[in-house]
Amino acid sequence: MFRRILIANRGEIALRVIRTAREMGIDTVAVYSEFDRKALHVRMAHRAVALGGNTPRESYLDMDKVIAAAKSSGSEAIHPGYGFLSENAVFAERVMQAGLKWIGPPPAAIRAMGDKITSRRHMRTAKVPVVPGLVDPVDDAKAAREAAREIGYPIALKAAAGGGGKGIRVVHAEKEMEGAFRTASGEALSSFGDGRLYMERYLDSPRHIEIQVLFDEHGNGVSLGERECSIQRRHQKLIEECPSVAITPQVRARMGEIAVQAGRAIGYQNAGTVEFLWSQGEFFFLEMNTRLQVEHPVTEMVYGLDLVREQIEIAAGKRLDAGMGKLQPRGWAIEVRINAEDPFNGFVPSTGTIRNLRAPGGPGVRLDAALYRGMEVGLNYDPMLAKLIVWAENRPMAIQRMIRALQELNVGGVRTSAPAALIVLEDQRFQRGEFDTHFLVGLDLSQPREGEDVIVAAAAGLFRHLAARRRALSSDNLARKAWSDRARSRTTSYPTPGSRGGTR
């Protein structure tokens, strides 16, 4: 087993990997941008190497810096988390060339699945069902309009090199194509340096169902059930479940087989996720995420394993445990993503400083976060602050438990997606399992919460009144100044000059 690994990521996923590595007795090395120098993933790692800079490009996306950090810290392997360099085949190759183990799939497998057009070709060859659409990407709106006439509306436009919902637009009619193509292509160009889009049929009442797979280096592969990820907006998931109400044991077995078949076709190793669109009993290959998935915890809770541990052990050459393929699901797990955004204002990003934190607890509640009081939430990084996950004996109990946990949670200082998740979970249609990928977009979030308006009004009045009263107590300017100076100085950092040259 590795003695030391570097985690080439930040936020909750960096901490997630650090946690498992600590439990395995592996020394952990964090990397960090200037912005993240007090971050929890840095404090919880055994070692930390500064990458400098504040943007992703200056830090977590800089391959040279990350590999140099791994070498200088004596790391033996790199875990990329998700996002950033996790699905970058060039990076994976460079890691290996540097004599380090890559805790992820082979570069060829990343490439085979990295480009959506290539991946669809691979899947067609491997007899994996794919969604009707064009195999080749289109370059401009005019070509898109022509192709759309053959495939038929509604059409999904997707970045050829994309992922994570960026550069995706659904076009319902020809007149929308021009504008949709422009923004989608622009996003794709800005995010991936490739403005080409590919097109496919947009399925009716589709569910997003994905299968977790694991492959070792010795030819063994298993599937670990499905995740239901249909509660999403602009292809950004908000709520995920394991298992799915839509999937029978027979369909689960069939999807699992096909997912393993898909992985085998491209020589997959390590953990991966095969995403399907499920529509009226049929399912179609969508894409494969060649990395750990954000929503992996729901699988962990239902199947009773630690996927990050499996990843590390596979990378270290271990065979998959013989019992792995026989693991039985128990109960139901749900995850809610806590994003820094304002769901009542079109989910626009929310920024600020985390003033207060109250973590939910009690039975069946797991919180994966790297939050801390005093943390600044800016625009440089992904808006996901935390993942709240619950497990219970069955779906109705899991829903009620998640509602209870969300009621306990408090993230002060920014607006979050939590109230929107609460509204979904309380919705009767969601509770009955009647939803598809359009559910969240169709939800009316403008309906004001009723009931406690008078209490809130009175409390707000008292809050302001008492705040004013306290200000009156600091009777003159001098006192006020001393107060604010002091408050400011209380969290100032005093780096010593020597440290500049070192690991900062």
């Binding site: 800005s190 609460l422 707000a460 009045g461």
Partner: protein, 168 residues
Amino acid sequence: MKYFVTVNGRTHEVQVRERLGELTVEVNGKPLDIAYEEVDNLGQVAVRCEGKSFGLSIEGDDHRLGAVIAGHLYAVEIEDERERAAHAAERTASKGGGMIKSIMPGVVVKLLAQVGQAVEKGQPLLILEAMKMQNEIVAPSDGTVQAIHVKERDAVGSGAKLLTLKGN
């Protein structure tokens, strides 16, 4: 002191009186039997009222705040009597004209209109990128672009002025 507190679009008159160090509260003219106790200096408040108990998380400033009860957010605006009068006057004065502000922090990726250009309601005026998502900012009504307050590549904060539209 009297406050005008708007919760979910409805305004309540909250009268707070202080006598011998104790506070009494009236909402919309009716006394309210409420115990309000701040737990820490981070907005955690224990509230009890008519047998019910609430753990509120309040944050914001004198004029706008958010109160969370059991996970649900109540957005609140507060004015005192003086502020209410001033705001009312302001609202009367600024009738017509249209300042388009950014509803999120982001970067202006592309301007799609010029000063003097006539635009239709719904027409894209600029593209704002935030969190790597590109968002079209569209004209809220027919009109003419009177001024553009940003240029391409500008980073703008939430509430920043983008364009001024002159209604037809």
